[in-house]
């Protein structure tokens, strides 16, 4: 009983899956586009857990972990689930914008409505003078800020 070896792979697998989740949420601003780092860590964690479980059940006389193994594995799967949920939420709220106009490209024309109900087109914004504190000035350009709205 006391001679059985510590099944470190189970604990390492659990630790790596926890690390993968923590890294993902700590770096969400950067990783919402690149979540592959965490995914690779989860694959590594799965490999460690599976190999640890094999040792625990295949060679129970040599290795410990028959009780800890399933618990750590379930927790690891749970972390993976939370990670997947985070990735799907990020995809919903932060569109990848792969086809957003790039620097040097033409800004797509559009027509919207201002807060008084008047139609406003981009071409108009680029050519119409805006009233300012010192009279009115021809615009040098327009900054388009897309925001989520509904504050």
């Amino acid at each position: 009983m006391t001679n059985r070896l510590w099944n470190w792979r189970l604990w390492a697998g659990f630790g790596v899956s926890f690390l993968a989740l923590v890294i993902y949420f700590l770096l969400i601003q950067k990783t919402r586009a690149i979540f592959w780092g965490s995914l690779v860590l989860f694959v590594l964690s799965a490999a460690l857990l599976i190999s640890g479980l094999k040792r625990a059940y295949g060679q129970p006389q040599s290795y410990r972990g028959k009780i800890a193994g399933p618990i750590l594995t379930v927790l690891g799967v749970l972390f993976l689930g939370v990670f997947g949920w985070g990735v799907s939420l990020a995809a919903k709220y932060f569109p990848a914008a792969r086809n957003a106009p790039q620097v040097g490209q033409k800004a797509p024309e559009f027509i919207t409505v201002d807060s008084h109900g008047n139609s406003v087109a981009l071409v108009q914004l680029l050519s119409t003078s805006m009233p300012t504190s010192g009279g009115s000035r021809t615009p040098k350009g327009v900054l388009l800020v897309f925001y989520r709205g509904y504050w």
Partner: protein, 85 residues
């Protein structure tokens, strides 16, 4: 110019509450938002289609001179705006 999928009424409310001095544009059907590939489908309250956050600096020829798809500070924008003639 700030653009969202909010209605003109909601924009008026926001202008009043926040004391904004620049116009807010309403893109209720998310047409402009789609054209700029910024649609966050059903991500709004009541499952509305809304815009993801992004900024584009457009010069008078209609060309994008600078853009920002992340939520960063204004420093980069100020640099790009200084190059406009």
């Amino acid at each position: 110019m700030a653009i969202s999928a909010d209605t003109p009424e909601e924009s008026r409310e926001l202008i009043r509450k926040a004391g904004l001095t620049y116009p807010l544009l309403s893109d209720g059907k998310a047409e402009a938002i789609r054209r700029y590939d910024l649609l966050a489908a059903k991500a709004g309250i009541d499952g509305r289609d809304i815009a993801g956050t992004a900024e584009f600096l457009v010069d008078t020829s209609g060309t994008v001179r600078w853009r920002n798809l992340n939520e960063t500070g204004p420093e980069e924008f100020m640099k790009a705006a200084a190059t406009l003639q």
